[in-house]
Amino acid sequence: MSELSGWGRFPGHKTQLSAPRSEGAITARVAEGRAIARGNGRAYGDSAVGARQTVSMRHFNHMLSFDAETGVLVAEAGVILGDVISAFLPRGWFPAVTPGTKFVTLGGMIAADVHGKNHHKDGSFGNFIDWIELIGPDGTLRRCSPRSNDELFRRTIGGMGLTGVILRCAIRLRPVESAWIRQTMQPLENLDAALEAFEAADAATYSVAWIDCLSQGDRLGRSLLMLGEHATAAELSEDKVRYPFETPQKNKKTVPFDLPQGLLSQYTVRAFNALYYWKGARQSGKSLVDWDTYFYPLDAILGWNRIYGRKGFMQFQCALPLESSPEGLRALLEATSEAGAGSFLAVLKRFGEQESPFSFPMLGYTLALDFPVNAKTLALMEELDRITLDYGGRFYLAKDSRMSAETLHRSDPRAADYAAYRDSEGLRAPFQSRQSERLSL
């Protein structure tokens, strides 16, 4: 038995962790019951901590084939997204959808049906999957796709690993002409301005806003909106166009130890937020940014989850329907700034349409905040849960570490439907994470 947690390092649970090397060994783990597959441990909470068995997929990390005509990559579920980029960006291909870190596995991306800065245009990762092969409760390997086993396919995307162990998949990459992003940065003085700017930027491929969640009053929700487009070869300067897929090597920094708790106090976070806003405002306008800096700014600091100290941190991420977003977001930001529990990394993003059995995104807006773990922030998150429920929103399970089953089921009627499906297919006993147990899934 070992103590295991997610990226937020909270909560920790005892679980039987193993790293099988064969399909047979995975089946043997699953047969012991209450198992969940684990990728690179980037879900924040207990999504990938097995109620009994945790099956690490790190030995299933092979790329199996690539079609240079269509951009379809077939790979094992434990392949890390960053390795896909390293291998195929130099050949002109980029993930069609990417979350904010490249240290996730393909299996994890499917299970959480991750979204990126282009959700309003392209939807979630699930839109770019040709097929999935997964190991079911009895150990049989099944391939599912929109054409065969389509219900299993749809429920596996965003199903948090609770339909089986995802073993292999075929995903579609997108062609790009360079490794550069044309970024446009707009400082926006409050929430209304930010929402207006998002709506006006509907045509942009990528859009995301960093939001200062400690500002109050007229400045509540002041943000920096970052729009992006893949730069075409014609848009590159002469020195860059010669090697359009080469970008400067970045120095990786590592957080070597747990920073003291309380270092990220109201005051330091306030100072950081103010500084970040003014720095961004000074750099407003257009610039050319390399892919790593644009998509994965935090990946440059390895082990950044240690800045919150030994007790760990939690992330809150909800989605609100379009019509209730302005009021709902205002209420969420007011509660956060009143509590003075400023989040270091607060992100606002517009979602497009999405219809799926259990995936997180919905037409509207999503807000992500993170907090160190303490009594005050735990209470604040309860409050944020209530506000989200009041405005008809729902929660991102890849980020959740503490929500109650009641909150989930009140926010999302699909949860009961998913649980019923799991019962009818005999999936509940073999596949259980700590999270699915907590949330009665």
Binding site: R21, N61, H62, M63, L64, S65, F66, D83, S86, A87
Partner: protein, 245 residues
């Protein structure tokens, strides 16, 4: 400039695969040799996809020393770097009673690896260039009751590498001895190893690449093994024989 080919013997092991990934990432063509090369098909495809380097697979039986000269002839080109990751720990208790099993461990860790590396070294010398890496073990630095059959074979291998290095010191053939210490691999799975002393296979691979670039002779992977082994090798035998370590 095209980079020199890297031959990896015993390529199915975790350490060997990590080394293969490191050299493929640096753009070196690979020759992967193992008793069952078909087990390496998936790795070959993966490395070719990720790094666009040619990877060839070769059947190689370290115990069939008579076949070693012919094996070298089957390689597409005489490699610039040859890395021997062949090894077999066996069960000490079994090795104490069953001499056939003990002999198998001795031959797998010493006779076989030494034979193939000697043949390669001669060819490297005739060509005038080449680098040889032998993955040996700290277990070879002093015999202990818990694994002396394995340890003695590794001791022989370490001495053989040292002799090769000495012989070629003034020629353009370099020999690197690697004493990895504990490594989290299939071989040690399920053992209760102290985390501070236990390297990941990727660390071993990085250490090898770095050490070859610098022309190092003998390396540990985690530095902490140097003082540990300095102490273990300096304990007087009269005391050592009574210890259980």
């Amino acid at each position: 400039m095209t980079k020199g080919s890297v031959l990896i013997l015993g390529a199915t092991s975790d350490m060997a695969q990590a080394v293969a990934r490191s050299y493929a990432a640096l753009g070196h063509p690979l020759q992967l040799a193992a008793r069952r090369p078909e087990a390496l098909e998936k790795l070959k495809t993966d490395l070719e996809l990720r790094h666009s380097v040619p990877v060839s697979l070769h059947a190689f039986d370290v115990l069939d020393t008579g076949s070693h000269p012919a094996f070298i002839e089957t390689l597409p080109v005489l490699p610039e770097i040859a890395i021997c990751a062949v090894g077999m720990m066996g069960e000490q208790v079994e090795n104490e009673q069953d001499m056939a099993a003990a002999a198998q461990v001795m031959r797998s860790n010493y006779e076989g690896p030494a034979t193939i590396l000697a043949l390669l070294a001669n060819r490297f010398d005739a060509r005038g260039s080449g680098q040889i890496v032998g993955i040996s073990s700290v277990a070879g630095l002093r015999g202990r009751a818990t694994n002396y059959v394995y340890g003695s074979a590794k001791a022989g291998f370490t001495a053989f590498l040292s002799g090769l290095r000495n012989r070629f010191a003034k020629r353009n053939v370099h020999v690197l001895t690697v004493l990895p210490g504990f490594v989290a691999t299939r071989m040690t799975e399920g053992m209760d190893l102290p985390p501070r002393l236990t390297a990941e296979p990727e660390e071993v691979a990085e250490a090898i690449v770095k050490a070859l670039n610098k022309g190092r002779n003998v390396i540990y992977v985690r530095k902490i093994w140097w003082p540990i082994m300095a102490i273990i090798t300096s304990i007087p035998e009269a005391i050592f024989k009574k210890l259980r370590i």
